[in-house]
C-alpha cells in the first residue's frame, strides 16, 4: 500500500529553533530511499506504508537522541485504491484545475 504523507515534527522542551532536528529527519528519510519534498510546514513523503512509518519512527528515536525530551508529530497520510498517484500528480491535478 503506497502512502503519500506530510510529516511535521515538533520537538518540545528544547530551544526555539528546530531546524537541526528537521534536517536530521530529512537525512533519515533520504537514507530510507523515500522520495521527499521539504516545504515550509513539513516534509512530503512518497513510499510504501511500512517503509515510510519505519523511517518516521527512526526520526523520533534520532530527535530524542539529539536531546529533545518530548516530540509531538503531525502525520497526514493518504492512501487510495482507485489509481496510482504521486506527490507530483497531486500538485499537477490542482494546477490543471486552476488554469481552467
Amino acid at each position: 500500500m503506497k502512502a503519500l504523507v506530510n510529516l511535521q515534527v515538533i520537538p518540545i522542551g528544547t530551544g526555539v529553533s528546530v531546524s537541526a532536528y528537521i534536517a536530521a529527519c530529512g537525512a533519515i528519510l533520504e537514507e530510507a530511499g523515500l522520495e521527499t519534498e521539504l516545504h515550509a510546514n513539513g516534509t512530503n513523503i512518497e513510499g510504501e506504508w511500512d517503509r515510510v512509518f519505519e523511517a518516521i519512527k527512526r526520526c523520533h528515536e534520532r530527535v530524542h537522541e539529539m536531546g529533545a525530551p518530548r516530540i509531538q508529530t503531525l502525520v497526514s497520510v493518504g492512501t487510495r485504491t482507485d489509481k496510482e498517484q504521486s506527490l507530483k500528480d497531486k500538485v499537477e491535478s490542482v494546477r490543471r484545475r486552476t488554469r481552467e
Copy 2:
C-alpha cells in the same frame, strides 16, 4: 518507545456519514490490545509505537475493503523520554492546573 496518538480517519469518495468506518477502525484497535478513547474528533490511542502503527495500517486496509476508494488520515503522535505518561495522566495534568 511508547506512543500517545490521536487518530482521525477521513474516508473520501463515499457517503457523508463516516461512522461505520470509524467503528471498524475501533474494532481493529481493540483487537490489537491497545488502550483507546473515542472522542468527537478522533480516537486517542496508547501503546507501543510498532503496535499502534501496525493497527493504523490495518485500519486503512479495512476501510478500503469496506469500499472507500480514498482515505486521508490525521495522526498526531507524541513520544517522550523524560517520564512515563498515559492518556489519563495528560488529562489529569491539565485538570490540576485548571483547579489552581
Copy 3:
C-alpha cells in the same frame, strides 16, 4: 456556520511540561462561552466559526504572553450543511455502529 474543532496547542522553546498553557487556553475557551471537552490530545470545541477562531487567536496571544516564544497549533475543523451535529452526536454515532 457551526464548527466542530479539535485544538492541539504546542508551545515551543519552553519547558517540557505544557499543561499550564493548555489550562490557560481552556479558560479562554470557557470565557468565550464555547462548549469544550478536554481529552488527552487536545480540546474539542463546538461553536460558531467566528467565535471559535477568535478564541483560538486569543489563546495564541495568551500563550505568548505567558512566555512561549513560539507556538505550533493543530486545528482539525469540521463543518457540514446536511444536518446539525454536536460533539456528543459524533461520538454517539460511532458508538451506535459499534454496538451493531
Copy 4:
C-alpha cells in the same frame, strides 16, 4: 500577529477527486492577498492571523456552495514572537542545516 499556516481541506461525501475544491480555495486565498505555496499535501499560507482565518472560512463556505455537504480541514498554524519568519525562511533554515 503573523501566522504561517498549512491548510489541508478535505471534502467528504463527494467524489474521489477533490482538486476542483482545492483550486477554488486557492483562488480565495489569492484574492485575499495572501502569499501561498501549493504543495502535495496542502497549501502553505503566510499572512496576518485575521486575514488568513477569514480566507479559510470563505474557503469552507465556497466548498459547501460547490456541493460538498461536509468538510474536514486540517490547519497547522505557527506564530512566534522571537523573530520575523517567512515561509521561505523556514525552508532555508532547514536547508542550511542539511548542508552543514
